[in-house]
Amino acid sequence: MAHSRFLPSGTTLLLLCTLTGLLLLIGCKAQEVETKWSAEPVKVDGEMSEWSSGSTVYFEDPGLQLGLCNDGQNLYVLFRFNNQAWARAIRMGGVTLWLDNSGKKKKDFGIRYAGGPSLSDMQRPGGSEGGGFRESMTPEQQQRLDQMESSRADQITLIDKKANTETSVPANGSGGPAASFASPQGVYTYEISVPLAKGEAFGFGIGAQPGQTISLGFEWGGTSKEDREKMMGGGPPGGMGGRPPGGTGGGPPGGTGGGPRGSGMKSLAKQELWVKTRLASPDGG
């Protein structure tokens, strides 16, 4: 019986896919970042005053500054950039900080924070969101918008994938983790603290000790949960007078060019950055 000298085309394809996957995995390896010891608790206020230049690193790609430090109680994370599209994406969908005390890249526990510049700030000169919508609102609606945005920044969501729960807690740290946003010198700056030990209130903490190696994943952009719900659930209450003409069923569902037709949602590019770090100890070890 003669055997083919070549692999069947399906097998070749499978091998190629596996190799490509392996290469991608190697390319996505978490970068190692040093965590500094902090003798004093860091105030989570989005300001830079407690972060010395030596306690942060800059990632040229994708273009953000990251700072990590810890004391005996908390890990403190500083995350800053001056990309307005990202700031808008975070304000709309949040930035999720994934915490993996095994040092891998598991997305079991995370914190989502949707703070950021208000729409009014974004629409001022320098803001990239606009279009004249705010200008067409009544003063009362503008005020509601501002309040809504500030209340979103007052909360963080604790994500426990294993328990399949998402819990909103105040961002001021009373529920364990804390988060804050500011824009010192115009740079979008997010500061987050997470208890090292598992807390009693929400059972939320990294579950790690000084000296232990952990992984942190930052994820932002893409379609927000709110947007997805909106898209799945339909339009606003009260009907949609003035929809654009069409929607006839025969029209192309693509919306904008380049994308697959009828393939469902498209979104802003999702950003993800993973770092691995060893929690600092007071003796510097």
Binding site: N82, G130, G132, K230, P236, G242, P244, T256, G258, G264
Partner: protein
């Protein structure tokens, strides 16, 4: 995806959109307002040369003066084409967000129509910034027009320019290392202004400016006293 193409003074920026007839007929269940906004926004001018799309989003230039970088264009422009799909998406986005009643929503829509008249205007929202002198934001310095290309090339000037915010206090940008020049952080004063440019939807003969045959729409900023100083952003309508 942002493509850079050649231009007289600075590289132009281009966005690819579906053909106009598709945009006009599309329904809204595909993309979020933010995603639509992003896809209709072109960034061009001061900061674009040699930078990746991620950094373009900063909208701020590392260039300090007319000679720096050789680009010679004093402004950074973020221009968003407010087509019917984006407009409807914006109405829905804010009406949902603010839990508007049907009456409130209708008033919101009407207020927008009164202010910008999208039925008769092609609307382009522009965020203008400069790290140079504030006078560069003065619209009197600039000839702003659109170039529409189908079988021929036609140019139109805005019928109205609504300055939605004045160039007020300059923001001091703390440029992150790697974005600013040199190894350390650099600080620049940034002057900013937001303008809605309203271009005619019909020409003098009452023909539609954006017919289904239109292949591209180009927004051009040209300095009135020095026509070599020019930058442009392009929306290309493709199948």
């Amino acid at each position: 995806m942002l493509f850079l193409a050649g231009c007289a003074t600075v590289p132009s920026s281009q966005k690819n959109l579906a053909p106009l007839y598709q945009n006009e007929n599309s329904t809204l269940d595909q993309e979020s307002f933010a995603a639509l906004w992003e896809r209709r926004t072109v960034l061009f001018g001061q900061a674009t040369a040699g930078r990746g799309p991620g950094l373009l989003g900063t909208g701020f230039s590392a260039l300090g003066g007319p000679k720096a970088g050789g680009a010679g264009f004093p402004m950074n422009v973020a221009a968003t084409l407010i087509d019917s799909l984006l407009l409807e998406s914006g109405f829905q986005h804010y009406s949902v967000m603010l839990h508007m009643s049907p009456q409130e929503e209708e008033e919101f829509r009407q207020a927008y129509r009164r202010r910008y008249d999208p039925a008769n205007h092609i609307l382009i929202w522009c965020d203008l910034r400069t790290t140079w002198a504030e006078l560069h934001l003065n619209l009197d310095r600039w000839t702003v027009f659109i170039e529409v290309r189908d079988d021929e090339l036609r140019q139109y000037e805005p019928v109205e320019m609504l300055e939605e915010s004045q160039a007020a206090r300059p923001a001091v940008m703390d440029m992150l290392p790697g974005i600013g020049p040199g190894p350390g952080p650099a600080r620049r004063q940034v002057h900013q202004k937001t303008v809605m440019f309203c271009f005619p939807r019909q020409d003098l003969l009452k023909n539609p400016v954006l017919s289904p045959k239109v292949k591209s729409l180009r927004l051009v900023f040209q300095e009135t006293n020095d026509q070599r100083t020019k930058a442009e952003g392009i929306w290309v309508f493709r199948e």
